[in-house]
């Protein structure tokens, strides 16, 4: 008779939180589809230009204003540039602006939210500041910022990097408020919990407390804000480009392509569809992703 292993093997491995979240997320079909579409779009605009034969700035004047064909699946524009290549280049800019601006807004929002929630004395002033920012006319202010700082920044960093920094910073500092509010609410609730008291009793400093105990516990609302932040930033950047105050004309973004296409609305109405659909589809998929994430990270819904 052979010896059986001494330690009893548990019938089922204990489930990790990550696993729970993923299981809940999987059950939300829209969120899965959203994640898939967003991944396809991101991969498409990142890898597409390496596979696609045409360059976004290559001008072929004999092939201008062409409709969709095998050579140019989305047609060409008034200078004979391939629309597919321009869409990919535009998507790179739009998505990178969206992600960077979202990160900036997230860092600002979480910082202000955590500080306001954790330090009682700063709570009042910081929340009043948040309320004041929420009352600002954001789009007009963004337009004014772009108007005033476009030239000096272009002169310092070059036209493309300059305007990239400007737009990212402008969107970042005007969209941190929702994150700050949500994070503050959660921090206020966390502060009353026993584990914080326990950590306090062994002499944890405020800095350690925030980084070790508070921040990991408010990650889920921050992640949901992140997805919504990307959608918001992409729309804002496109709106700026659409109003003619975004990136320079020869530097395509989805908003810019849409803006250029509206000039040919009567002759080539199909041209506005591509960039518009790309923006809408990206935002839609990100919103669904956020929706699913919110459900999956909410312990009250999870496991039901």
């Amino acid at each position: 008779m052979t010896e059986l292993p001494v330690e009893p093997v548990p019938a089922k491995a204990p489930r990790s939180k990550r696993r729970d979240v993923w299981d809940q997320f999987k059950s939300h079909k829209g969120a899965l589809l959203g994640m898939f579409i967003f991944a396809v779009i991101v991969l498409g605009v990142l890898l597409g230009p390496y596979l696609w034969p045409y360059d976004a700035t290559y001008i072929d004047i004999r092939a201008r204003n062409e409709g969709p064909s095998f050579a140019h699946p989305m047609g060409t524009d008034q200078l004979g540039r391939d629309t597919m290549a321009r869409m990919m280049a535009g998507g790179q800019t739009s998505i990178s602006v969206g992600v960077t601006a979202m990160l900036l807004a997230l860092v600002l929002g979480s910082l202000i939210g955590v500080v306001a929630g954790f330090f009682k004395r700063l709570d009042g002033p910081l929340m009043r500041l948040t309320d004041l920012f929420l009352a600002l006319p954001l789009l007009p202010l963004l337009l004014v910022m772009v108007l005033l700082f476009r030239e000096p920044l272009s002169a310092t960093f070059g036209p493309e990097t300059g305007i990239f920094i400007l737009i990212v910073v402008a969107i970042g500092i005007t969209s941190w408020m929702p994150t700050a509010r949500i994070v503050r609410g959660d921090v206020l609730a966390l502060k009353e919990r026993e584990f914080v008291l326990a950590a306090r009793s062994i002499g944890t400093t405020n800095f350690r407390m925030i980084t070790r105990h508070i921040l990991p516990n408010v990650m889920s609302p921050i992640m949901v804000s992140a997805t919504l932040g990307i959608a918001n930033a992409i729309i804002t950047e496109s709106a700026l480009s659409f109003l003619g105050l975004g990136f320079p004309p020869d530097f395509p973004t989805w908003g810019r392509l849409l803006y250029d296409a509206t000039n040919y609305l009567q002759q080539y109405p199909e041209r506005v569809i591509w960039p518009g659909a790309a923006i809408s589809l990206t935002v839609l998929s990100v919103n669904y992703l956020g929706d699913g994430l919110r459900d999956a990270l909410d312990p009250r819904i999870r496991g039901r």
Partner: protein, 335 residues
Amino acid sequence: MLTYTIRRLTLAIPTLLFISLVIFLLLELAPGDPMAQVPLTVPPEVKQQMREALGLGEPTHIRFGKWLWQFFVIEPMNLIDATLGTTIAEGESRVISWQTRSPVMDIVAQRMPQTLWVVAMSYVVGILIAMPIGIYSAYRQYSVFDQVGTFVTMVGYSVPPFFSGVLVIVIFSVQLGWLPSIYDTTLNVVDWATFKKQLMQMVMPVMVLALQTTAQISRFMRASMLDNLNQDYVRTARAKGLSEWSVVMIHVLRNSMIPVVTVIALGVPYIFGGAIITEQIFKVNGLGQLLITAIQANDLPMVQTVTFMLAVLIVLFNIIADILYGVLDPRIRYD
């Protein structure tokens, strides 16, 4: 209720001061002399007047004070003059536009009605469409109506106005030719035919703006109704034999409206942002279009004034929402 309203109104003053400070400092911190971009065609004496009107060459805080004085004292005095025919503001230097060399507020007053019309109409239409959708999809949760409604609102939420606006122009103006793509602001409504024309040209801008409002508000309405429908007081109301209509439309709806009113108020800045874009698409000559042309022409006083006027409108709508909040929830009035 009156003290509550007065308290809200006094709270608006620091908000407006802060916003004017932000706008002022933004233009102040901008590198370069604000007068450097005035076209050379402007005569020197006008330039000198403009310098005085801007209060250039003095420390920042004095200039900010002067700007506030111009904006909050001299401009209202001019408004009184215009309405009552008095001359109390004569000889005071007003905020002058660099494009037209006429007072900025006169132009703003001309443009304001168009923007308010389109924005107010679309907000009202949006709310009117959103509320029944939200209520019904919460009441019949997970029904076909709810599923379709959720998807449609999600799409409406994700399609930006600059795409949906262009799209409806392509469909209804270019392809079908039903509606005019350009908003004619010179149209005077005098009889049935012009009223119909006005209606036709308002449909697209209003619906495009209303789409996003509808999507957002119906989502919140649904969530808020769902929170309330499972509460004990609903069971009590049903148990004491109230009709289903009065349970849902009176008991639940009133309580669900409280968070929705906040969302409606917080949405006001976005709808004004959307109005800028819609005005650009449909060529409505409202405040947004004025702002864009002023920005393109580097007309800083105009930009400053229009931005601030938009801020005033936003703050105003926020106060209205706050007061509504007090009407809906008596607890708020007394704390």
